[in-house]
Amino acid sequence: MGLGRYITARVAWAAAVAFIIVSLTFLLLALSPNPQVQQAATQAALQGDNPQEAREQARQLRGLDKPIHVRYIDYVVGIFTLNWGWSTMRSQPVTEAILSSLYYTAQYSIPWTILTVTIGPIVGLYSSANKYSWRDHAATGFAFFGFSIPNFFFGIILLLVFGIWLEWVPVIYNTNVAVFSLENARQLILPVFVLVTGSIGGIMRVSRNESSEYMNADFVKTARAKGVSPLRAYALHILRPTMVPLSTTMVGQLLLLFAGSSLLVEVVFSIPGLGRVLFESVIAQDTSLVLGTTLVFVFVGVIGNLLQDITYTVLDPRIGYEDR
């Protein structure tokens, strides 16, 4: 099997996984009671109308009167035609809801990812080059602190101190400021900081441990002996092999945080991003929106895993793609 075929097979499988997961979500949603229908019935009862009728009407309005397989087929067709439905919770098309919330999620996710991916390996490498120095211990301590402190807890504390007591950063997230402005930087600094502390620790540890394996490897010694500058030795000879196992950790860590902590960080800092939309839509049982956002998260997850696998294969020639 060649690389091309391997990737094709991998992509096809990724799509299948995404599809299965979304179907499961659909099933779960179909099984849970819809609060809006209930609400309509209660309301009708209080006003002297027939609640049964109101219930039927509410179900019909939301397309819930159709049998489940019809709804499922409609939904699947919708996914491919990009007709993802109407969000009753936000009164806008689901695609629009996702795009607009993704806009806010991206504003903190991109700086966070870039910072993590650049600082993490560098500090790790530095630690490993200066093993058991006080700097190494400080970096290790910070790494453990970072991935042990619960993100939301850390966020609340920082917001309390810097937002409410010191008033250095605004308490309310303002959506009306320009993306590249000082105000935006000020209101995003805490969420980005919290997320970076959370994700960088693992990467620092892995890159430190992995690179220490190569620090004294024969090929590095050879390179040094040949007069390769230390910087070049680090970048080419140590970082590259380190990146192989590191890429796994990185993708895994970032994905985990993206799907989990980003929601909590958005809640704590009132950022109207994707995580919050997902959570709110689950609570409001806004079926189309839940499915839409889930699809996005699954997509990101699946693509992340896919990229990880492919990078792995490409970066490390020792791994054959025949096995998997």
């Binding site: 209080l46 006003q47 609640p51 959570f279």
Partner: protein, 658 residues
């Protein structure tokens, strides 16, 4: 969270503090439905969204005859005639806990969104600080209480190209949307087919009710938002409810012309709304109201921000990022002492109650159902100390709840011999036990006290479950307090359990209705159920899917402005809302009949005085407290008053100069 909170819709937890139209659901205090908000919530029963923006109008009121002693709060002090109108300055920034579902005035059912709509679009009328009808878009009058004439103000304009607001803007809306089956608008129930609407002039139309109702405006049924006929006509012709619901112009309030104090600039679904001042606001030219209306509004803009964390909302209020936010009782005193915040405390008609299941699947502590015996419900009410509950859970910021009406209502039976269970000598272990023993006598089963514990015929302690909504911290505190009191004073073992509001509603609260026309005997009376529904499924044998004993999940509105609505709760088989299976043992149907047919407010009062004395005695729900609404304002803001109608004169609100 649920919840609440969840809950995240926060919400709902927040029992709304200002009654608004279309607030039925909120009126139920439905804790978990919108969510857990609580969950996210805020669980402290704070007063969040509802109170945050004053632009919408309060509902239900006792009207006109100003002869009564009713205290809806302080009144606006009319400042000395203004020589010079203040200049508009600043923006009026509010925070709320929950994002809006829709801003389409035809479909909105949420209080928070009602506020957001209210900035850009006035409703038909409101009630002023004297609780008098105050016409905004139209005036209402009647000779006999059955035919009501609506006079639409002249000079009201929609945005181009929709032209002037006329009587037709309203009649078309009523007849083609509210009174049809396809549209399913939020107001459809207010305009049932029994209401006969007719246009009688360019600026005049009338509504003929099926029966007299002298408190018609107070019911808020006739409150309308104007919508251009040309805008909705295409949807009417197609009967396209989905299109109407999703119409961009309606959702983004692009048709509001001179009909609101502000113009909506942007509705960011996740984070709130922003507005700019409407220079042509019609209210500048009206004769009624304070002179200050002439230059209204006095803010250059307005905004609402969705902030879920309660501590962040309060932080924003404190730092001046927000001009108004509701305050939870635990922070009341602290904020009251702050220079940077002006806190108002406004009594509310939403109650905190324990519902006890009198249906066949209630009382799972042994044979029989003691909840059905009045003395037993009295014993429970007498076992829970209302003042301690109020002090402990609401930091004293609530009023005790003895009967189905707050004390400040004109319909409260002042001076009558009212039972006050849970206060004074009607509180205490011995007193409650005495009542419980009366109930044991009435029961055919052998319940008794064994030392300090209440035991069932098998000799085991009576053990019951009390549900509250998950994520609602206040509710949980109340539930646990009640459980402790019932344990200490009546020797009952009460387990407190959290449950999601929607699930509770579906599985526990909603009955499985019987066939219409079923008859059965309750308390020796023969009753017929003509329209059984999940909220009143029929005789006590019509039960929910799951058995339950007691619940604090839902609180209810007591309708102090229009108490007639309370027949929904206490009219036995005919009640629209009787999930617990309560059948009055006083002559409720006749008294409600009297009240309905009354031709003067005094007559209504007489009938209700008797009803409320009986309700206090029978404790259909174990009544506990009326928490106050607490709202913090920017101290520079001139206008907010501690009145049930706070916000009625919002156009005159302004920032003090300097």
């Amino acid at each position: 969270m649920p919840t609440e909170d969840r809950a995240w819709m926060e919400s709902s937890d927040e029992a709304p503090r200002y009654i608004r139209r279309r607030q039925w659901l909120k009126a139920l205090g439905v804790a978990g439905i919108a969510g857990f908000a609580g969950c996210q919530g805020d669980g402290d029963g704070g007063t969040e969204t509802a109170a945050d923006t004053p632009t919408d109008t309060p509902t239900e009121s006792g009207t006109d005859t100003g002869t009564d002693t009713q205290d809806f709060g302080e009144t606006a002090t009319e400042s000395t005639p203004v020589n010079q109108l203040p200049e508009p300055s600043g923006t009026y920034d509010t925070v709320t806990s929950a994002a809006y579902t829709t801003l389409n005035p035809l479909y909105n059912t949420e209080a928070g969104a009602g506020d957001a709509i209210g900035f850009a679009l006035d409703g038909g009328y409101t009630f002023d600080d004297q609780q008098e009808y105050f016409p905004l878009l139209y005036d209402m009058s009647t000779d006999n209480g059955q035919v009501w004439v609506f006079e639409v103000r002249e000079g009201l304009e929609f945005s181009d190209p929709y032209g002037e607001v006329t009587a037709e803007s309203f009649t078309y809306q009523i007849q083609e949307l509210h009174q049809t089956d396809w549209a399913g608008t939020a107001d459809s129930a207010s305009w049932g087919s029994g209401v006969n609407v007719e246009q009688t002039g360019t600026y005049e139309f009338q509504a003929e009710l099926p029966s007299t109702n002298i408190l018609y405006p107070e019911s808020f049924d006739p409150l309308l938002y104007p919508v251009p006929k040309d805008l909705v006509q295409p949807y009417v012709e197609e009967q396209d409810a989905e299109g109407l619901r999703q119409d961009e112009e309606l959702l983004e309030l692009q048709f509001t012309g001179n009909l609101g104090a502000f113009v909506l600039d942007e509705w960011n679904r996740g984070s709130g709304t922003t507005y700019t001042r409407n220079d042509d606001y019609y209210i500048q030219n009206i004769d009624e109201g304070p002179d200050l209306f002439e230059g209204a509004p006095y803010f250059e803009g307005a905004s609402t921000s969705v902030v879920q964390e309660q501590s962040s909302r309060l932080g924003a209020l404190e730092t001046g990022e927000a001009d108004v936010a509701s305050i939870p009782p635990t922070r009341f005193q602290e904020f009251d002492e702050k220079e940077s915040v002006n806190v108002l405390q406004i009594p509310q008609p939403y109650n905190e109650i324990i519902s006890v299941n009198m249906r066949d699947n209630g009382w799972n502590a042994g044979p029989g159902n003691l909840f059905r015996h009045i003395p037993f419900r009295q014993a429970m009410a007498a076992a829970i100390n209302k003042q301690n509950l109020i002090d402990g859970v609401f930091q004293g910021l609530a009023a005790p709840h003895y009967t189905w009406q707050p004390r400040w209502s004109r319909f409260y039976p002042e001076g009558a011999d009212l039972s006050t269970f849970g206060s004074g000598d009607q509180y205490g272990s011995d007193y409650a036990r005495g009542l419980a023993e009366d109930a044991f006598e009435m029961s055919e089963h052998d319940y008794a006290f064994d030392g300090d514990t209440m035991v069932n015929p098998d000799g085991d302690q009576v053990a019951l479950t009390l549900y509250h909504s998950a994520g609602q911290e206040t509710e949980r505190l109340e539930s646990e307090f009640a459980a402790q009191e019932l344990n200490n004073n009546l020797g009952m073992n009460v387990q407190v359990e959290a449950i999601d509001g929607t699930r509770f509603d579906n599985e526990y609260w909603s009955n499985n209705p019987v066939e219409p026309g079923t008859t059965a005997t309750v308390n020796g009376e023969e009753y017929t159920w003509n329209a059984p529904s999940p909220n009143n499924g029929g005789p006590r044998s019509a039960t929910s899917n799951q058995a339950w004993d007691m619940s604090m999940v839902f609180g209810l509105n007591t309708f102090p402005r229009n108490p007639l609505t309370n027949q929904f709760f206490f009219d036995g088989p005919n009640s629209f809302y009787n999930p617990v299976g309560y059948y009055p043992e006083f002559n409720a149907p006749e008294l409600f009949q009297q009240a309905r047919e009354a031709t003067s407010v005094e007559e209504v009062e007489r009938a209700f005085a008797e009803i409320f004395v009986n309700v206090a005695r029978e404790q259909p729900y174990i009544m506990l407290a009326f928490p106050d609404g607490l709202t913090g304002y920017n101290p520079d803001l001139v206008g907010p008053i501690e009145n049930f109608s706070n916000g009625w004169n919002f156009p005159a609100w302004r920032f003090e100069e300097g």
